[in-house]
């Protein structure tokens, strides 16, 4: 599969009065063409900083210390500001978190949606507005033609997020970055926006990086998932691998704290403790102090990635051949069992279809 984006050993520090905050500590991941990669993690884990590094939109006090961000075999980090500007809103575009503040209150939305086309010289003014109308229809703004001259305050929060999405896709970007696009919305609108994103996955040919702290959203939309904690990726794999066969204790904690239809406990599980201070990150596994399965080695050395399958890696010492065998929480075990059953069922179906096919062939 073609890798459209390849991030390697990214390190980002923020200079603050208290000292250097190590927001991103050696993050590597890639994005395949046409897939949707979800990056999950709690607030402050470095999800947004990671994608802002790709966009070149980091705050002034941020400094990229190390790493490569290859977009189509060109390192974004080595580009001039002008070259990155040509990329932004053209090859790589972004959907922001809060639609209430993301739109310019004094510009008609038609003009705002058409803007990326005009900046990058893709269309004349008239053609750009026509295209803006098309895209607004696509994202579900009814009667878009008559609403081009309307201003943001004349739209509801959900509609505004649709407009923000329209702006991001108007130029047919190769990569679409969605930075918690549903966090600021209420639950019913969240569902609508997620449905829209899923619809767009089919309609437009774009690779998506989807950032969220909501695992429920991930299940429905992502092909692959990367779990971030304290500025590092701790586990990544396909969506099924992460949801049904997670290996990192942090991922277990995240999944356990997500309510499901089968949750019957009085209280929802919460991971105890707080994330570490990234001014002085721990030398070992950053999750160790909150990890009921932590071993002595977790406090002393940073775990490398251990391979689970060709697509599934986790950075926990528990996967080391010498580590004691631990039993994951019961809920995680149940997930595994469900998954095996699901796989077996799929296998059966697959076999029957093959049998039928063979049968068909024999009939001929």
């Amino acid at each position: 599969m073609e890798r459209i984006l390849d991030v390697q050993h990214l390190k980002v520090n923020f200079a603050t009065f208290a000292g250097q905050v190590q927001a991103i500590r050696d993050v590597s991941f890639h994005l395949n063409k046409g897939e949707t990669l979800a990056i999950v993690g709690e607030s402050g884990s470095g999800k947004s900083v990671t994608v802002r590094s790709i966009m070149g939109l980091l705050a002034n006090n941020a400094h990229i210390d190390d790493g490569i961000i290859n977009f189509k075999n060109q390192d974004i980090l080595k580009m001039t500001p002008h070259e990155i500007e040509n990329l932004r809103g053209n090859d790589i575009s972004m959907i922001f978190q809060d639609p209430m503040t993301s739109l310019d209150p004094t510009m008609p939305i038609g003009k705002q949606v058409a803007e990326p086309l005009l900046i990058h010289g893709k269309a004349t003014k008239k053609a750009a507005l026509k295209r803006a109308e098309e895209v607004l229809e696509l994202v579900g703004i009814t009667n878009a033609k008559n609403r081009l001259k309307d201003y943001p305050h004349q739209f509801s929060g959900g509609q505004r997020q649709r407009i923000v999405i329209a702006m991001a896709i108007v130029n047919d970007p190769e990569i679409l970055i969605a930075d918690e696009p549903t966090t600021a919305l209420d639950v019913t609108i969240q569902a609508q926006i997620i449905d829209l994103m899923k619809e767009l996955q089919h309609k437009i040919d774009t690779s998506i990086i989807f950032i969220t702290h909501d695992l429920g959203v991930v299940a429905g939309i992502a092909d692959r998932v990367a779990v971030m904690y304290a500025g590092k990726i701790v586990e990544f794999g396909t969506v099924d691998e992460i949801f049904y066969d997670p290996r990192h204790p942090y991922t277990w904690g995240l999944l356990n704290s997500m309510p499901t239809l089968k949750t019957d406990a009085e209280r929802l599980y919460a991971i105890p403790g707080t994330p570490p201070n990234l001014l002085n990150p721990p030398i070992g596994d950053a999750f160790a102090p909150r990890n009921p399965y932590a071993m002595a080695v977790d406090y002393e050395a940073m775990p490398p990635f251990f391979k689970v399958t060709a697509t599934h890696y986790a950075a926990t010492w528990l996967l080391h051949p010498d580590a004691p065998k631990v039993t994951p929480p019961t809920a995680i075990q149940q997930r595994k069992a469900e998954y095996r059953a699901l796989l077996a069922e799929q296998q059966d179906q697959h076999n029957t279809t093959i049998d039928e096919k063979i049968g068909d062939d024999l009939d001929d």
Binding site: M55, L57, H82, E85, N86, L87, R88, G89, N90, S93, M94, F96, Q97, D98, T101, S102, L103, D104, P105, T106, M107, P108, E115, P116, I119, H120, Y151, H153, Q154, V164, M167
Partner: protein, 311 residues
């Protein structure tokens, strides 16, 4: 929009009526009389004069007569200049005042907006510090001090401009600069604060994410949004200019209306005081109306409430 403006004009007339009434009675409370050499006049002479100007009638009646005259567009006759109607007095002297006032407000707000914007974009650099320094100076030194300094150095020492006479545009430059300092400083400070705020907002980041260069972002998105609150302070600043212009006009010997106003007050020239007060008030309410309309043009959210008022 049309209905909104009509409504506003109605309120303006009411405001002007209240101002005229209040001024009339306050003016009558002032000590002194309109006659410069009253001490030398006999009681008989004063009586004749009072009768001639209608000052012997009860105050309420005088007020009634004045207001009726006003409705017919009659501002009365000046006491200082015999037989010169106040309307003529104003008409002949308003030109220079208006010219200097307008030039100062355009120069002051224009440069202020520019300076404030640059200071915000180059926040916490030497550019910002220099702009802040000038803003503080402009705000804290009164305009007549600037007027004297400019007059002394640029006109008297260097001879670049006429010192104190009224002869077209070149003689309006120094008073304009002196008057423009305060609005410039205020606008610059206000603009900087607003712009810093706007530049930190989400829609500016989104504009950058669309591929706008930093300057494009400022021109297309930041400037207009920063201007919204700045426009509101232009009204009060225009008042500042009108009041402040009196002293500056005096320094540069400009035959303007400000100078006339001061003279009319010191000589108890009642019709001229009334006429000029009404003129200033009218200018003020008109400026405020213009600012409100401008506000609606810049901010679509205000415009909507305007069109709602129409429905």
């Amino acid at each position: 929009m049309g209905k909104y403006i009509l409504k506003r004009i109605g309120y303006m007339i009411l405001t002007l009526f209240i101002i005229a009434t209040a001024t009339f009675f306050l003016m009558k409370l002032m000590p002194g009389s309109p006659y410069a050499n009253q001490a030398k006049m006999t009681t008989e002479q004063i009586k004749i004069m009072d009768q001639q100007y209608g000052l012997n009638k009860p105050i309420v009646q005088q007020y009634w007569i004045y207001m009726i005259g006003l409705l017919h567009g009659d501002f009365g006759t000046s006491f200082q200049f015999n037989n010169q109607p106040v309307s003529y007095l104003i008409a002949s002297r308003i030109g220079p005042s208006m010219q200097i006032g307008l030039q100062a407000i355009i120069l002051g707000t224009g440069l202020g907006i520019l300076l404030g914007a640059i200071a915000a974009i180059r926040k916490n650099t030497w550019v910002d510090t220099v702009a802040t320094f000038f803003a503080i100076i402009g705000r804290s030194i009164p305009n007549f001090v600037f007027a004297v300094i400019l007059q002394f150095f640029l006109a008297f020492k260097l001879g670049l401009f006429p010192i104190a006479l009224w002869d077209g545009f070149s003689s309006s430059i120094l008073p304009t600069i002196a008057l423009a300092m305060a609005p410039l400083a205020t606008t610059a400070r206000f603009m900087r604060t607003e712009m810093v705020d706007v530049l930190n907002s989400d829609y500016i980041e989104l504009a950058r994410a669309k591929g706008n260069s930093p300057w494009q972002t400022v021109a297309k998105h930041a400037l207009r949004n920063s201007l919204i609150p700045v426009v509101t302070i232009i009204g009060p600043m225009a008042v500042d200019l009108m009041v402040g212009s009196m002293v500056v006009e005096n320094i540069f010997s400009i035959p303007g209306i400000g100078e006339q106003f001061v003279k009319s007050i010191t000589t108890n020239d009642y019709p001229t005081i009334m006429g000029l007060t009404i003129l200033y008030s009218t200018m003020l309410v008109v400026v405020i109306l213009i600012v409100d309309i401008l506000y609606g043009l810049i901010d679509p959210r205000i415009r909507l409430s305007g069109s709602e008022a129409q429905n």
